[in-house]
């Protein structure tokens, strides 16, 4: 199929794709995101290929390298369709056996089957694994069905139908109305209503208008954006085109960090394919609507999570945020009205238009409909990328999906929203994952990073580590953030070295108050969260460090008794090695 000059061509194309698709008996999907590749998934892929060719099975067995399936802990892993067999932590030498027994004889190899760490039960099929079973995978469900390098796979799964619907059955206003009715909120952290942002951008005076997809992930140990970018690039491209149509934008920018080369590769290829098929560029679907997207590699700065900072980076300036208002919807890129959304927000839009706002609002909570992709890391069994409805209780995420705490230790706290999020103590695991409740608990939803800590974690040290990230990533523009984070870090350093003073607690609280009230952007305003929540929920640990010169978790080395030192010499697992 060459250029689609009419929406009817889409259905036609889908039909052809399905017809021409080889009738495989089995399809092996090798999870090959960056995380999988790091664990050797491409070697697994090659080994399968050779084995299949060697046994002359090429006509009956298909093999695909897909994006990440989510269960990073078990990489490299595969899913064998149609049965849905899930094999974990594969080695090249396992391949002949898999082909021999599972592919040809439909028999399960028990040693490669996932075992639930909580119950010890083995689950050979993917859909039986609690990790997958308990999720609501709207955005990620197709990850193992799509070869991200082929637009046909996306089309076969009804891709670009939402766009066709928007362009030919809806006006810009009705698209905005639908998105407003869906209650979709920005997944980048601020949680503003997407439809409202669109509306104000549409109404803003200025021409041309721009669209930006913030695909520059800064939180250490999180990979929500990467998961989508690598696995299903067309879903967000479609979302962006729908957004552009709604707003009246003519150009879009996909800002991807230079640390995501695979994402850049897949996105660039996807854009090229979309352009070649008349889904992007001039006269989309033969309509009068023109819109194109450029990939811009930005040198990933944490502060670029702020919209104005990302815009500055795009303009080729230092990534400093600026005071808002005026909001980017009024004065954004090069002073023109600009709509910025996170990768995940864009990926939601085709689903909303396809299934309707009513269907969408059934998922999640009243105030926060839909799902959220979260990254589970830290002392959790299933280090992973999972998708849950907003409002899901932390307990369910940690224990049911995450498989509980490593080594069956007791949970101590959970940090949500990356290094600027607060620590929620174990007794508050009934807190639902949504914007408001987390914020009341002193944390943030952020982009959805969740770091789990067990009883061996020192909360002073955990706060200190989070602060060190914020201090290191502070852009330096405004004094409260630049110096505030440094001073906080100094104090925490002192406390963890047994040199804390009683007055330090007040000083930390004072600093936090100034930073929250006076910092220019969100980074400085939320950076004190880890300190404030640890002070709120784990005050006794501070007291132990300051008054008794003792670290209850035996982590702070200068306070640890000599015999414990060796045991605890390993670094705290606070997201640094999460994924």
């Amino acid at each position: 199929m060459k250029k689609l000059s009419h929406p009817h061509h889409l259905a036609e194309w889908k039909r052809i794709i399905l017809e021409e698709r080889p009738a495989y008996d089995k399809v092996i999907a090798v999870s090959s995101g960056t995380c999988g590749r790091a664990r050797g998934s491409l070697q697994i892929f090659e080994a399968f290929k050779q084995e299949i060719e060697r046994r002359r099975l090429s006509l009956t067995v298909g093999i695909e390298a897909t994006g990440c399936h989510g269960l990073c802990e078990m990489e490299p892993n595969i899913v064998i369709s149609p049965e849905g067999f899930f094999y974990k932590k594969l080695d090249v030498k396992d391949i002949p056996a898999i082909v021999e027994r599972t592919i040809l004889k439909n028999k399960v190899i028990p040693s490669l089957v996932y075992e639930d760490p909580a119950t010890g039960r083995k689950h050979p099929r993917q859909n039986e694994i609690p990790f997958y079973q308990k999720q609501t995978r709207l955005l990620t469900e197709n990850n193992f069905r799509i070869n991200p390098e082929r637009i046909e796979d996306y089309i076969a799964l009804d891709g670009y139908q939402a766009l066709a619907k928007a362009l030919f059955d809806m006006t810009s206003e009705s698209v905005i109305a639908e998105v407003k009715a869906s209650g979709l909120r920005g997944r980048g952290g601020a949680g503003l209503l997407t439809g409202k942002k669109w509306e104000s951008c549409r109404e803003a005076r200025g021409h041309p208008k721009y669209i930006i997809c913030d695909a520059d992930e800064g939180d250490p140990g999180s990979s929500m954006s990467r998961g989508l970018l690598e696995a299903n690039p067309h879903s967000l491209i479609e979302g962006m085109i729908i957004g552009a149509y709604a707003i009246g934008a003519s150009e879009g920018f996909m800002c991807v960090g230079t640390n995501y080369p695979l994402a850049v590769e897949h996105i660039t290829l996807a854009l090229e394919q979309a352009r070649n098929h008349g889904l992007l560029g001039s006269a989309i679907f033969g309509s009068e609507f023109h819109f194109d997207i450029h990939v811009v590699q930005v040198a990933g700065a944490f502060v670029s999570g702020d919209e104005t900072s990302l815009i500055a980076a795009l303009e080729g300036k230092k990534a400093f945020p600026r005071q808002q208002p005026p909001f980017p919807a009024q004065q954004g890129l090069w002073g023109k009205p600009t709509d910025i959304h996170h990768v995940e927000t864009w990926a939601n839009l085709p689903i909303i238009l396809n299934k309707g706002a009513d269907w969408f609002t059934e998922i999640g909570t009243d105030k926060s409909p839909g799902t959220k992709i979260v990254t589970l890391g830290g002392r959790i069994n299933n280090t992973s990328l999972a998708e849950v409805p907003l409002g899901t209780r932390l307990r369910k995420i940690i224990f049911d999906i995450g498989g509980g705490i490593k080594d069956k230790r007791a949970l101590k706290a959970v940090q949500t929203g990356g290094p600027r999020g607060g620590f929620i103590p174990a007794e508050k695991m009934d807190v639902p994952l949504d914007y408001e409740t987390l914020s009341q608990s002193g944390s943030i939803l952020g982009c959805g990073g969740i770091i789990v800590m067990d009883k061996d974690t020192c909360m002073v040290d955990a706060a200190r580590y989070s602060l060190s990230v914020s201090a290191e990533e502070s852009c330096g523009k405004c004094a409260p953030c630049r110096v505030g984070t440094r001073q906080m870090l100094e104090i925490l350093d002192r406390i963890s070295h047994g040199q804390g003073q009683a007055s330090d607690i007040v000083r930390l609280e004072d600093l936090a108050a100034v930073m929250k009230a006076a910092s220019l952007c969100d980074l400085g305003q939320t950076a004190p969260n880890p300190v404030l929540t640890t002070l709120r929920y784990f005050k006794d640990e501070y007291d132990a460090h300051i008054r008794e010169k003792r670290c209850p978790a035996l982590v702070c080395q200068s306070l640890a008794p000599a015999r414990k030192k060796a045991k605890n010499s390993r670094k705290q697992e606070t997201g640094r090695e999460a994924i």
Binding site: C475, G476, A479, R482, V483, R486, E490, A518
Partner: protein, 761 residues
């Protein structure tokens, strides 16, 4: 609109930030990063105020007043936050830790500059020690012991000429970065790194000499701390007096504020209220005034050649020698060469001395060879009233700026600021000329044609405009028919080729000119010299008529325009000035009087040569008498800048040794020769007579010159196209010593080390 600030109602007329408005009304809001004329930065966060209805505090510098807005600028809570922010800033500032006794507190270090600079590099900033940071410390009264010191450990940059940078004292207000980028258009400085390593710096940490830095010193003047310091002021104490002067290093006429200590110049800063420069200057005005005034090549006493050697003598004897020599010659054997660096009074006295005293027609001046002089000559030849006045702000308002060959950033830095302002508000800059200029990166096109082919390009553009029908409204102007007919001879492809362009590109250029009106055309002497000069000017004028273009001939000396008007008032000279120059170099005159030394001599030019100058240069080898002349800082007088603006320069210091203002020297000489009409006692007397005799100065009075005034010119311009066949050849170019860095006999880029380093890059 109506707003309420601190409970009081106010009326606001324009869009204004809370900070600007509050300061206007005398309400104090502290701020470190805000600076008038720069885009609000909201980085220091000291100006946070409460705006009713907003959840968070808003920075007053970057929050604009809206109708009905209610603002509270100060409450105990806000004050506390500001104080805490300042305490944080202080903890990072290289302020001494309160625990150690061996160093002074920040306050102490800032006020006791003399002592402190030895220890930490603190010294005078442009505000002569009155740092803004210090003032803010005073108002917010922070507790410096609140936070432990996080003092930076940045290396102190002492590797550049003229200024040092110590970023340990920097508070990251970003004023230097922003003024360099937004106002000066240079962007040599930027923020580098982040977090605790965040600092101001250059690309790749290079020294400023290896960047685009023009050493204008604007960064220094806006720095609220002592992070940037002027090298020459390192060990200085505070000045006792400050006096304004008009800089004579080029033709722009910046007002400089001289810092004086016991009658000597310590340094200079551009005056914030300067009519022309408004707080900006170039490196010469900013850093080199004292160096030039006290330069080792200054002539301090009259010199007379005895036994082949120049020897110091008295004024009386020196003048007597000149009087004697001149009296022996006939008027036609004497030639006089004036300097356009001198004040109007000096030039007037010299013209009067030569024209009415000696009655010689052989009078030339360096002002006779400028673009302004050529344009005037051209216009007069076309029976047009030459209009030379313009305002810098006219350039700032232009939508297209066409620049012929001049490196404005060096030769006319203040004009360049206006061009840059225009570019920032969307104007296109087109550079025409073979040389690659440093300002090229701000230009939208660079047309690399050979000098002398400008007229073909310009005529080509005219042809496109006329043929595209845009010229309808101009068809009423005189000479249009002939002009249109002449255009038939122009072949577009040839015109484009001569400029090294594709025809399509020429077409686009013409359409852009048509779309982006008004245009401004800036050019220097080169554009109108040589065989093509007249044709260039004619083609330019014809194009300017169609694009509502402003024609800006530039001149580089401090009083070129004044010299032009005054010498014109004394009547047409004997032939072209170029012939007099030739006469001088071929030895046709017996006695010469040089005020300044724009003519470079290679041999003794006449039997007798007297020079009146401030500096000794190569010409001194052939001089029989040298009279020491005062520099601009030492005289009271008037100067006409490139715009045609007459400004009065006050005397800042006493003349060095026995130097005298030019008009006094001429008065003495004239009296010595028994001439009458030289009885003026003060510069104001000379000016009074001048104003009565030179038409352009009529109606101007000495006492009313404090804010400056424009020279008189006819209001309307003749709307007349110029036909090529009516052109008279303009004069051949003459080899004279002129250039942006020449002041009197001082070639600053050769004789001043720092400037030599900078220009020699």
């Amino acid at each position: 609109m109506k707003v309420i600030i601190d409970g009081l109602p106010f009326q606001v007329a324009d869009k204004m930030s809370i900070l600007d408005f509050a300061r206007d009304k005398g309400i104090t809001i502290p701020s470190l990063c805000h600076y008038p004329g720069l885009i609000p930065f909201s980085g220091c966060r000291l100006c946070l105020v409460a705006v009713k209805g907003r959840k968070a505090l808003a920075p007053a510098c970057d929050t604009f007043l809206e109708d009905g807005m209610e603002v509270t600028t100060n409450t105990p809570a806000i004050h506390k936050i500001r104080r805490q922010i300042l305490e944080l800033i202080l903890s990072e500032h290289a302020n001494p830790s309160p625990v150690s006794d061996d160093r002074k507190s920040c306050l102490g270090a800032l006020s006791e500059t003399g002592e402190a600079n030895q220890a930490s590099g603190y010294s005078l900033s442009s505000n002569n020690g009155r740092h803004e940071f210090l003032k803010i410390l005073g108002t917010l009264n922070p507790d410096q012991a609140q936070f432990p010191s996080l003092e930076g450990t940045f290396e102190i940059h002492k590797e550049d000429p003229l200024l040092d940078r110590n970023y340990n004292l920097c508070v990251l207000c970003g004023r230097c970065v922003r003024i360099c980028h937004e106002v000066r258009g240079v962007s040599a400085l930027a923020f580098v790194n982040r977090s605790s390593r965040a600092a101001v710096g250059t690309a790749l940490g290079r020294r400023l000499l290896d960047t685009e830095c023009q050493f204008c010193g604007a960064c220094l003047d806006v720095c609220p701390t002592g992070a940037l310091t002027e090298k020459s002021l390192k060990a200085e104490v505070l000045p006792d007096t400050e006096k304004n002067t008009i800089c004579s290093f080029c033709g722009q006429g910046c007002t400089l504020r001289l810092a004086l200590k016991q009658g000597k110049i310590m340094g200079s800063v551009p005056a914030k209220q300067g009519t022309v420069n408004q707080g900006q200057a170039c490196l010469k005005g900013r850093f080199l005034v004292a160096e030039a005034v006290y330069h080792r090549s200054r002539v301090s006493r009259p010199l007379v050649r005895k036994n082949g050697k120049l020897q110091e003598t008295t004024w009386n004897e020196a003048l007597a020698v000149i009087a004697q020599e001149f009296s022996r010659c006939q008027a036609r054997d004497i030639a006089i060469a004036g300097s356009a660096c001198d004040s109007c009074e000096d030039i007037f006295a010299l013209e009067k001395f030569g024209g009415e005293g000696l009655k010689t027609e052989n009078r030339i001046g360096s002002g006779d060879f400028t673009a302004q002089a050529r344009f005037r000559e051209f216009a007069l030849g076309q029976s047009l009233e030459p209009r030379l006045n313009f305002r810098l702000s006219d350039i700032g308002r232009a939508k297209t700026i066409v620049l012929f060959g001049e490196n404005l950033a060096v030769s006319q830095p203040i004009v360049w600021l206006e061009v840059h302002r225009a570019i920032r508000s969307g104007a296109k800059l087109i550079i025409v000329g073979p040389q690659e200029l440093c300002i090229r990166r701000c230009a939208s096109s660079w047309i690399k044609l050979r000098p002398g082919q400008e007229s073909e390009l310009l005529t080509g553009l005219s042809k496109i405009l006329v043929e595209s029908g845009h010229a309808a409204e101009f068809s009423r102007f005189e000479g249009f028919a002939v002009f249109k007919k002449n255009l038939e001879e122009c072949v577009l492809s040839e015109a484009a080729a001569s400029a090294g362009l594709q025809e399509e590109r020429l077409l686009k250029l013409a359409l852009s000119l048509e779309k982006r009106k008004p245009a401004a055309f800036l050019f220097g002497a080169e554009f109108c010299e040589g065989p093509s000069g007249a044709a260039n000017l004619a083609a330019l004028r014809n194009l300017a008529l169609q694009t509502q273009g402003l024609i800006v001939p530039l001149s580089s000396e401090s009083n070129s325009r004044g010299a032009l008007e005054i010498s014109a008032a004394f009547g047409k000279k004997n032939g072209y000035p170029g012939r007099i120059v030739q006469g001088i170099s071929s030895g046709s005159f017996k006695a010469l009087y040089f005020a300044g030394s724009f003519l470079r001599l290679g041999k003794k030019p006449a039997e007798f040569l007297a020079i009146q100058d401030s500096y000794l240069d190569g010409n001194a080898d052939y001089a029989d008498v040298i009279l020491p002349q005062a520099t601009f800082a030492e005289v009271e007088g008037t100067f006409v800048n490139v715009e045609g603006r007459l400004q009065k320069c006050e005397r800042a210091i006493e003349p060095q040794a026995e130097a005298k203002p030019g008009w006094q020297i001429i008065r003495q000489l004239a009296r010595k020769m028994g001439m009458s009409g030289f009885s003026f006692k003060a510069a104001s007397d000379v000016f009074q007579e001048l104003a009565g005799r030179v038409p352009a100065f009529s109606g101007l009075s000495w006492d009313q010159l404090t804010r400056g005034a424009f020279l008189q010119e006819p209001e309307t311009d003749f709307r007349k196209f110029t036909a090529a066949e009516t052109l008279a050849d303009l004069e051949e170019s003459v080899d004279i010593a002129s250039g942006p860095d020449i002041y009197k006999g001082l070639n600053m880029s050769r004789d001043i080390k720092d400037l030599r380093l900078i220009r020699g890059r």
